[in-house]
Symmetry: C2
Subunit: 144 residues, 2 copies
């Protein structure tokens, strides 16, 4: 289980200061561990911890966390979503198209891809596998 302490440590190791704003953001992220969350929603949560934190600060910190490989960013609609990278296991997600609920799919077919990629003379650096559908709650509301 990833801890707030670990996150703070990694931030410091990378030469960034531990401001109260940054700590609040980390706390919120860890509260949503393994689920995607938007910058705006992070703001709503952090404000409870550090009342007048600015959205700019959120964005700047998310960018830093992404740079030092602590955060995974994805953008499918018009709003970017973020999710802590927990290194324990490499995995992908299924995302509910209605409520955004996210579950982990603990399987990665990357090895099978890498040969195919080599054939195309690409160097593979990143990959993103996202599954979409309806979660248990939302599927009840679907029209028959």
């Amino acid at each position: 289980m990833i801890s707030l302490k670990d996150l703070k440590k990694k931030v410091k190791e990378n030469g960034y200061k531990l401001t109260p704003q940054r700590k609040a953001i980390l706390k919120v992220l860890i509260g949503h561990n393994k689920h995607f969350i938007s910058a705006e929603d992070i703001l709503k949560e952090t404000i409870k911890i550090y009342p007048n934190l600015n959205i700019t600060t959120i964005y700047r910190n998310l960018e830093i966390l992404e740079d030092i490989n602590m955060l995974h960013k994805t953008k499918d609609n018009n709003t970017a979503l973020y999710c802590l990278i927990c290194e324990e296991s490499h995995h992908h997600h299924i995302i509910c198209k209605i409520c955004g609920k996210t579950e982990i799919i603990d399987f990665c077919p990357l090895k099978k891809f890498s040969d195919l990629v080599k054939e195309k003379n690409f160097i593979l650096t990143d990959h993103k596998i996202e599954l979409y559908g309806y979660c248990e709650d939302c599927k009840k509301d679907l029209n028959p």
Copy 2:
């Protein structure tokens, strides 16, 4: 091989008119078949065919084509990219992080995912697998 004629037919079948602007857009899309392209780049190309076509028209048509399932939209950086859906084969892509060149990876591990998804009580409706890296040309320019 998908043809312009097929595309026009599908557009008509769905009750949309065949305006010259729309035809120009389809022509450009088919010219980039199996590769992603941005709205702005589509505009640059269509303008050669239909000189004062407006970017709004591009966006509105891309939305229609997406609605009738002729177009696949993806958004990773801040710009959406579009790619005709050719139904002949289901596949995924590798995208060069520098120049955007796209190649097809003709493999889909979806079946392996579906069992895992069922365990989570989701209904799986869509999936997106995107691989990123550097293409043959761009990898030459990478710093050593």
